[in-house]
Amino acid sequence: MSIERLYGAALVGRWRAGVALLACSVLEGAPAFFSGRLVELSVDKGFGVGRAGAGIAWLLAFAGVAVLGAVGSRLVWHRLGTIVEPIRDTLVRAVVRGVLHDANPPRNRPDASGVARITQHVEVVRDATAGLLVQARGMLVTTAAAMAGLFTVAGSLAWLVVVPVVLSVTMFAFLLPALATRQRAVALADEALAGTAGAALAGMRDVVACGGEAIAGMALYERVGVQASAAMRLARASALRTVVIAVGGFVPLLLVLATAPGMVAAGAMTAGAAVGALVYLANTLQPALHGLAATASTVVLRLLVALRRLGETSEVPPSRDGGAEPANSTITVRDLTFGWGAHAEPVVRGLDLDLTPGEYLAVVGPSGIGKSTLAGLLTGLLSPQGGRVLLGGARVDAVRPAALHRMVALSPQESYVFAGTVRENLALFATGLSDEDLLAVCRAVHADELVQRLGGLGAELGHGALSAGEAQLIALARVYASPASVVILDEAMSHVDPATEGRVERAFAERCASEGGVLVVIAHRLSSALRADQVLVMDGAATLLGRHDELLEESPRYRAMMDAWIGPVPNASSA
């Protein structure tokens, strides 16, 4: 659902609160409707003819009506939270879901724009919605009530009022598109600023190391400057709007003042009626019109622009639906082909692979050759352009999502650690494990020392509290604890030292052997190949598959790779 429709639906969803608000509006509009009329009566029937008592009585009636109006606005403000806050919640949810459902995020920067979106645009929508509900609705009610009141007091003058008001509102409507364009430019400038700031602040180590403070500052200054001038262009466009509306409110007053003397002199209108009409114009209609224009041009535009910007990223892709149930954890890959984009060189070409329960595969090869892509294909995150991946006999992209996620676990290079307890982080994929179970898992993947250092399972992890290596250990323990029988470690130990890596890999291998699962290790170091049952060498043009010793025997290229890694170590034997 687009964000505009989501917003609309959320607004409609609060219709009960909306109806209540409308009821309050009737109360709120009462003073505007009666103001001129009651002043007219107090002059014509009271003060104007020497009857103070009657004059005061009519004015007290005015006071009573005003109390009603005040009650109305109190109710409006009080109920505002019941409409505005749920709408804000809906939008925050949509944006967060949209960001988290994005399976292909930018790779080398944190999505700082996601943060800017949630904090700024959502706040704009919240404030704008409140503004619309309070001001625009109030002004509309007041304008309508004042016009209606004017008809009751001096119907003959009404045309002098209606025509200029309608004219200026129409002109104002013509100005709106230009205003919208400029408002949008401001929003874009805001976002560009947040993006640039995010890149510099998140990459501060690199900025400092490069001595790039000046250039980072320049980039930020430029964004800041662009934002400021966009704000100015908007202000100039808004000035025109102010003129149009101010003239529209002022001209009726002049026209009535020029016309009324003749009518009073001719006896077509009482003095009280003239005063009453002017009360409507000067004290009610003019301020209301001003407010309406201010609200409409700033608030509505800000709302629309913010919603559109939110909408660009809050789209949640349709969830895959599949009903197939895999029979076991056998993985069969046939003639698999995948490339990024239509013209790109395929990263995986005609790959065949068979993994039976209990088997352990190491994938080795130069970086950027497509090892992570293979992980994406095996887990069903990516759809192949040719060939197929079968999990327990069923096409992996047709497996029921819940079953797939329960059965397959991926631990990527960039680990996910959230603010919460160590326990919560470890038990992300596994519910119902006791603390003993979790500690046993930590011992198995050699994360026990880390957990102890952090302060046990109950320790709270703050934002960014762990180093990359520590975060990877937590992520590995999490996958180890999960019920998944197919485990894919995609360079999941790149920040862990080789000794720990070896122990953790062995622990996963034992888990795989004892539970009849499948383990795929996308190797960060070639040592992984030594431990695996099968080795898949991905190297662009040629793909090799076999046991380590077979490959060492048969493939000179594999042998060269291994040599370059461990090398002929002359002094090793003398140790």
Binding site: S42, G81, L193, E213, A260, V417
Partner: protein, 605 residues
């Protein structure tokens, strides 16, 4: 005008230059001014009296607008003055109407006042926006400068830092506009009371009775809103930080199909946000109710009093209308009560900005670095929680590999060694000069850093490689060739000018671009912190050879997990739990089982 402009010009002038690493001194000026200016801000802020840091910042921001102030005040006064004169002009015209006699002078006077008011409103509107946007820009520049000057020592999480730079700067920047609006509201209110008194002193007396009430109303309002506003901002910041955490783990989330659950985790504080928000509206409701009640009550009271004036012949019917107009104007102050919420927001925003600007900056060195071959000496260097008593010498032109288990302090050593982080104890010398005293920009030019996970900055690939060094296209290409990434870059849609955002790079590709960035600077010392970890061994040895070819004789410090790299290095520094366990050639150290255990998965004895 403010200093940002000067800095802007400086930086613009330098951005056109193409000075590679060798000519680094030329580029010193912008870097220096960017670092030095916040010192001044912090200093000035410290000189302020006992006021809250946020308020001191707000008064400084306001002071910066003094050049624009006369015009803003003039337009505000014109608008207020014409607004105050309108009711009496209206009264005259109305009295004429009621008498049935059209008075052209009265109508013309009214027209003049109306035109002046509209004109002043429009001009004032544009001027205040200009003031607001330039104040916001100034605050953003100051905060950005401070964040950059704090560099790696910043204690602010970046999500929070971004929200300070984007959101809080806007709130605080509006201060001039808020003050002008509040001031003109009080001028209008006071003027209206005075004119009411001129009309009939009794009316002013009746009206004045309501003023203390209005003031009371405003004060209680300010107190009640502050807590909710602060809670609201805090919860909002917490959600941002959670979202940023989750975006780092997007692949895990996608693969496990837990997007909805993780969204729920990010959104966990949401009910508190709603509660704080609801509280803000309810507080508003109480205030609005009192204000809404107060205005008509005062209006009616004054009208009754004026009615007696009409009866007594002191006032005309038109004056009745004028009195009503003055009451409305007199109550302007009350109708501006929501501005106090905005002021509260501006103050809490300014407080958050002052927190940034008040965080002390390290003292940068001022010495310049004489040319030298690139010998590094570490004397009894200690870094809390990472390094202890490290004594180490890296001879010019040699390659030192730094090895050890994860958490042994390898990256800390790499950072301390080139001055990215200052050690808590001991000192680091480059060619005999203590680097702590060296001007930062010269220090950065002397050390070229490449990381395992580089953040690539700038707009395009070319920008990313030349980042901070102002390297020209030739230097960028040469560096990319040496880092074995040139072939990849030229195949991108726009080659070196392809925007980074449209360049999805794998870990190994990003590493090579990061490496090219270090090489492009032509530094005296190269520090490679596991910077080739994602490269295959063949590519890695190619990179190694081409670095030696393009930058011959440079000192190299290479943090590594790989035996082959350690073996190629002349010397190896072996770190264990933050201490230097041994320094020596790889072949000698290999005799130690504990050393071998770092590279293989054998347990250390």
């Amino acid at each position: 005008m403010f200093h940002g402009k000067r800095l802007d010009r400086l930086m613009k002038r330098h951005s056109g230059n193409d000075c590679a690493g060798a000519a680094q001194a030329k580029c010193a000026a912008p870097a220096l001014s960017i670092v030095s200016y916040p010192h001044r801000v912090a200093h000035r802020v410290q000189r302020g009296e006992m006021r809250a840091p946020g308020d001191r910042l707000l008064s400084e921001v306001t002071a910066l607008q003094r050049g624009r102030m006369p015009l803003i005040v003039l337009s505000a006064l014109l608008a207020a003055g014409s607004g105050l004169l309108l009711p009496s002009a209206l009264a005259t015209a109305v009295d004429a109407s009621i008498a049935g006699a059209r008075s052209w002078p009265a109508i013309l006077w009214l027209l003049t006042l109306g035109v002046v008011q509209i004109g002043a409103d429009v001009a004032g509107g544009i001027l205040t926006v200009r003031a607001t946007s330039s104040a916001t820009a100034w605050l953003r520049r100051a905060v950005a400068r401070h964040f950059l000057a704090l560099g790696t020592r910043s204690g602010f999480v970046h999500g929070d830092a971004i929200s300070r730079l984007t959101g809080d700067a806007v709130a605080a920047g509006a201060v001039v506009s808020i003050i002008v609006q509040l001031a003109s509201a009080s001028v209008i209110s006071c003027g209206a009371i005075t004119l009411l008194a001129v009309l009939d002193w009794r009316l002013a007396l009746v009206f004045a009775g309501s003023v203390p009430l209005a003031l009371l109303l405003a004060r209680s309002h300010l107190r009640l809103t502050a807590d909710d506003v602060l809670t609201y901002q805090q919860v909002s910041g917490e959600i941002s930080a959670r979202l940023l955490d989750a975006t780092a783990g997007l692949r895990t989330i996608a693969a496990s199909g837990t997007a909805d659950r993780e969204a729920a985790r990010v959104l966990e504080p949401l009910p508190r946000l709603g509660a704080a928000g609801g509280g803000m509206w309810r507080t508003q409701a109480r205030m609005v109710w009192r204000a809404a009640l107060l205005l008509p009550a005062v209006e009616v009271t004054v009208l009754v009093a004026a009615g007696f004036g009409v009866l007594g012949g002191r006032l005309s019917v038109g004056d009745l209308l004028a009195a009503l107009g003055y009451v409305a104007l007199g109550m302007t102050m009350v109708s501006q009560i929501p501005l106090l919420t905005t002021l509260t927001k501006a103050r809490s925003g300014a407080t958050r900005l002052a927190e940034v600007l008040d965080s002390p900056l390290p003292h940068d060195g001022t010495r310049s670095l004489p040319p030298g071959p690139g010998t590094i000496e570490l004397r009894d260097v200690g870094l809390r929680g990472a390094l202890e008593h490290v004594d180490l010498t890296v001879l010019a032109g040699t390659t030192l590999a730094v090895v050890g288990r994860s958490g042994a302090g390898k990256s800390a050593l790499a950072e301390v060694l080139g001055g990215l982080v200052e050690p808590d104890e001991g000192e680091v010398l480059l060619d005999g000069v203590p680097i702590a005293g060296v001007r930062p920009e010269e220090l950065r030019a002397a050390f070229g850093y490449a990381f395992e996970r580089p953040s690539l900055l700038g707009e395009t690939v070319s920008d990313a490689v030349g980042y901070g060094a102002w390297s020209g296209p030739a230097a960028v290409r040469a560096a990319c060739r040496a880092a074995q990434v040139h072939d990849l870059v030229v195949r991108l849609p726009a080659g070196y000018h392809t925007p980074l955002t449209e360049t999805p790079l794998s870990g190994g590709e990003a590493q090579r671009v990061g490496l090219a960035r270090a090489l492009a600077r032509g530094p005296r010392v190269l520090v490679l912190d596991d910077a080739t970890a994602s490269l295959d061994t063949v590519t890695e040895s190619l990179v190694d050879t081409s670095i030696s070819d393009t930058l011959p004789g440079r000192t190299r410090i290479v943090v590594t997990h790989r035996v082959a790299v350690a073996r190629r290095a002349g010397m190896v520094a072996w770190l264990d739990h933050g201490r230097l366990r041994a320094v020596g050639p790889h072949d000698t150290l290999w005799a130690e089982p504990g050393y071998r255990a770092i590279f293989t998965d054998e347990e250390a004895p």
